[in-house]
Amino acid sequence: MLEVTDLATAYDGITALRGVTLRVPTGSMVAIVGPNGAGKSTLLNTISGVLRPHAGTVRFDGADVTRLPAHKVARLGLLQVPEGRQILGPLSVEENLLLGRLARGARAADGTADDLDAVFSLFPILAERRRQEGGSLSGGQQQMLAIGRALMGRPRLLMLDEPSLGLSPIMARQVFDALATLKARGQTILLVEQNARRALASTDFAYVLEQGRIVQEGPSAALASDPRIISHYLPETDLSTS
């Protein structure tokens, strides 16, 4: 569904991505793991059209979307849940969700109420808080709202940037449970995570990004048991203590 080929992006004068190539097949859940500052967010933002690459291509469902502006990429159903959630704070929970519907564009015009209900059944807390300002929610609830908002746009590919960032372990687990539910329904997902163990446990395939390059790739289960992966995060860690 998504094919990224030889992507290179410079950002703030730093070359943040160098020759990144990856694929996300339809129906799969793929992780990109790597340390802070490896270029993971830059990669998602380049795919989303927020940043312009200076080399390489992004193809989505066969169409070249490399130089498409962000809103057009979103309207194709390539939706990103950005890092730090980016809830529109002064708007209500429901307004945030309704805005998410715009990305659906011409793809489907029916079933509005159903979509809201679907989000509310996945995250019941949002139904309770639907009239509240988005900014008044807790971090975990905001993450749920951000995911729900993207789902309103009926994403063909859902990209998440660090969905567990700053969440308590319980909240993070709830978020990942929701992702598992979505995956079970056939949702294609590209997940960026710093928390490698959690990411590898819930995905099919994973890429390791370091200093803007893919340094390793493989089935998530295989990577999870690869001691070298863990060494990317904590060099020379004695595995017996972890």
Partner: protein, 299 residues
């Protein structure tokens, strides 16, 4: 005592027109975070279009009103295209945006000067029937009633668009975060254009109303309104819709009362002094809106 109430009433009407002018001014700041110093010139062109629709085309006033709103809306979109969009593409600082909007204001004023041959125009006698009513001892003209009514309708329309339509939601989303809006599939540049159109249309309406109320339309009429518009939006808080409304009304009252009981020269000193004080004590305005962070002292 009646005199005071009469002045308060007059101030209320004047304040309504200021609010109408300032709403578009503050809307652009709220959404795009730039000051559009061409807003006064757009307002002036609205008045001219309204006037020519009545005098040259002989059409009724309500048509002139709509024509002025449409024309001023389109001029305002042009202002965005010429003055702001090229700078936005480059990420230029707010200084540049202010300068380029002053430049465009001068171009618009100069064109009006050439078109009007520096003359002061008036709406023909009888464009608006002169009728007065006495209510509780106060004199109210039909004109004042229509002014207040149209301000109320336009404000209701604006609030309706902003808070009850999908377009309004998109405008508010862009105001909060352009990047998040784009990731949700909102075309940020279209929303900017729409915002400028609404802002210009409001200015156009204000232009016709003020052109009739003071029975004078000329190429320099935008400047004093722009300056007073500053006071209104600072009183209410830069970028705040309700603030612009309240600020407009306060401004109208203070101005009318101070002219009536002190002097017109002192009135400006009082109003601008008020604005100066607000900026020092509460830069976010009486009703609190955007407040840009300043990092010279520990926060």
């Amino acid at each position: 005592m009646t005199l005071v109430f009469q002045q308060i009433l007059n101030g209320f009407v004047v304040g309504g027109t200021y609010a109408l002018f300032a709403l578009g001014f503050t809307l652009i700041f709220g959404v795009l975070h730039v000051l559009n110093l061409a807003h006064g010139a757009v307002f002036m062109w609205g008045a001219f279009v309204g006037l020519f629709t009545v005098t040259s085309l002989g059409l009724p006033l309500y048509v002139a009103f709509i024509a002025a709103m449409l024309a001023a809306g389109l001029i305002s979109v042009l202002v965005d295209l010429v003055a702001f969009r090229p700078l936005r593409a480059r990420g230029s600082p707010e200084f540049a945006a202010i300068i380029s909007s002053i430049g465009v204001a001068q171009i618009l004023m100069s064109l009006a000067q050439i078109a009007s041959q520096t003359q002061v125009y008036r709406f023909p006698f009888g464009t608006f029937p002169i009728v007065f009513y006495n209510v509780l001892g106060l004199r109210i003209s039909l004109q004042q009633i229509v002014i207040v009514a149209s301000v109320v309708v336009l404000v209701a329309l604006l609030l309706g668009i902003l808070f009850a339509t999908s377009f309004g939601r998109q405008i508010r989303a862009v105001a909060i975060s352009e990047r998040t809006a784009a990731l949700l599939g909102i075309s940020v540049s279209n929303i900017h254009g729409l915002t400028f159109f609404i802002s210009g249309a409001l200015a156009g309406a204000a232009g016709v109303i003020i052109g009739i109320a003071f029975n004078s339309v000329h190429f320099l009429m935008g400047e004093p309104y722009l300056l007073r518009g500053f006071v209104v939006i600072i009183l209410g808080g830069l970028g705040s819709i309700t603030g612009a409304l309240a600020g407009g009304l306060i401004f109208g009252m203070v101005q009318t009362l101070s002219i009536a009981f002190l002097s017109s020269a002192l009135s400006d000193a009082i109003l601008f002094g008020m604005m100066f004080l607000i900026l020092l004590v509460r830069p976010s305005g009486l009703f609190g809106a955007l407040h840009r962070q300043v990092r010279v002292v520990r926060q």
